[in-house]
Symmetry: C2
Subunit: 350 residues, 2 copies
């Protein structure tokens, strides 16, 4: 047993008094009401999840980067060979990837966890590895019931680790060749939409690759057509990374740790996590709209509107790190701007 | 004479070799080609305007904030009384405004220049003041020919000041009750579009205020219907801030200083500056889409696609400061990520 049910039951709501105080403070700052647009909403969210007004800048941000392989990669659904997953894990550990560069510039940490890479990467933390590559979802389940449970437990444990370490904002990162195919399958399976509507170009497949991907997702959804719960979808169509991330998202909400979602992998995990734990959604902020239609479908279903729309499709947590300075700007303006009274500026007429 | 023609003749193009080198380097970094979306384009732009690949993070960023009053404020086109212009200048000098907070967090400087405020603000630099409030454009020209010339000269001088001081990125900031009405008039006059299509809510006018604003713009454009040059539009419908900013944008291009545009005031000045000096456009990046339709019309005409769309409508240079970390992220990923060869990561199949 992953203990998920008990964790779900502990999820509370963000602090409504802090949210209200933030909204009221926004109205007194020396700017026209609403002139900072979405940043004002973000500042109110930050006040709520931190339980104080004004909120502090997020000072201990961590990317929890979950790496795993996907058996479906063998179906030719990616522009890159499957060994890139392990190679990129090594790249993360050496600090050469986009996530490392962006985390460094945001003073954020990166914790790389191998939850399902096909091989062992020297130096990588494989202590929470659930299996070596998920099942090939067009012909078999991604995970067994025991593996699903183990992966969810890994995510819950990571959420506890981060909360205990004082992390004040978690960014779920991902790496895994084939993962966007698994995401499309989970989203198609759970939302009941056609594969064509949720399959994207992933790492950049051509038209033939996209067609193979659609066929793989269609076969997977057909095979798994008796999903009784959202967790069945995760087990049958997802993978170790998606399952661990689902646990991470639920666990963070239970520990009152806010989460800045990234791309299609975190949106897919969020879709499952919200189905299991609707109250968790209030702890998440969507950072960017990726080019993957499954991400857009999942965010729309969750009612989450992303901050950025820059055509990002890299994963790793990079889109969330690109958006992080906007969150900090939202907090800084709420916390540090003068009010009309303080500045002796006339408020609006009438 | 402002000397504008001579400055226009000195505008060169960004460095094409650096741009090409940046585009080629993007293709070798450990990520799928194009996976950083718009950030990749921004990194190529930065390489071009800096003339080197990889480009450096912008390290000496300055907001040049031009404050001026607009006679049209008397027509009831703003939600705030006209004295707010001077009060906000005082707020800028004390560091209490949004532009101060955001500049501080981006290690950017703010230079506040009174080019046309109706009163003198203690402590403000009024040495380049062109006049006290622009003419009420529904019944008279905003500026005389001599004042237009003086304001353009102020902008050119500020561009030289910044280039001489080593500023490596200029953000044009603005403050002036009534300025969005002047912008709508200039854009409507130059592009020949209906006032209704370019008049926005500015600081947040209600329906009656919006109607007064449309009427004011319509009256202004009708009055000034024999504009022979874009500079005529600036003189007749604009104001001291818009004219000085036009000079600033042209001058920065001549000095090879890149500019991160902000909201409707800088987009309107850019529209005029590009009409006078088409080559200047390559030196500018659009930071955000504001809620002012005149900004959207001007940027579309210039072929500039903004990075952000967050419903910002504050001016002061704030939108550009919110977007600045994205520009820095684009540069950092290009400069610091490992290449496929360095990291031993397999490039895409075929």
């Amino acid at each position: 047993m992953s203990g998920l049910d008990g964790v779900v039951a502990r999820i509370g709501a963000p602090d409504d008094a802090a949210r209200q105080a933030a909204a009221e403070r926004q109205a007194r700052l020396t700017k026209p009401a609403g002139a900072l647009g979405r940043l004002e909403d973000v500042s109110v969210w930050a006040a709520g999840v931190q339980g104080r007004c004004p909120p502090h800048p997020f000072a201990r941000v961590r990317v929890v980067l979950l790496a795993a392989d996907h058996g479906i990669a063998a179906a030719g659904v990616s522009a890159y060979p499957a060994e890139v997953t392990a190679q990129m894990v090594a790249n993360f550990l050496r600090g050469g990837a986009a996530v490392n560069v962006l985390a460094h510039h945001n003073a954020a940490g990166v914790r790389v966890v191998d939850v399902g890479v096909a091989v062992d990467v020297p130096g990588a933390d494989a202590s929470m590895k659930v299996r070596r590559g998920s099942g090939r979802i067009d012909v078999e389940d991604a995970l067994t019931a025991a593996e699903l449970d183990a992966a969810l437990s890994v995510g819950l444990r990571l959420a506890d680790d981060e909360a205990d370490a004082g992390t004040d904002l978690v960014i779920p990162g991902d790496m895994g060749i084939g993962s966007t195919t698994a995401c499309a399958a989970v989203v198609a399976g759970l939302l009941g939409v056609e594969p064509e509507a949720v399959v994207g170009r992933g790492t950049g497949v051509n038209d033939e690759g996209w067609r193979r991907k659609v066929d793989a997702v269609a076969a997977a959804v057909r095979r798994a057509d008796r999903l009784e719960t959202p967790l069945d979808g995760l087990r049958s169509l997802g993978g170790a990374d998606l399952a661990a991330m689902t646990g991470l998202l639920v666990g963070c909400a239970a520990r009152r740790t806010p989460v800045l979602l990234d791309g299609v992998v975190s949106a897919t995990a969020a879709l499952v996590a919200a189905a299991v734990a609707p109250a968790a959604t209030a702890w998440w902020l969507a950072s960017h709209r990726s080019t993957e239609p499954a991400q857009q479908a999942a965010l729309a279903h969750l009612g989450l509107e992303p901050l950025l729309d820059l055509g990002l499709r890299l994963g790793e947590g990079t889109g969330a790190l690109v958006a992080l300075p906007l969150v900090q700007a939202a907090i800084a303006t709420l916390a540090e701007m003068a009010t009309f009274d303080e500045a002796g500026v006339s408020d609006r007429d009438g």
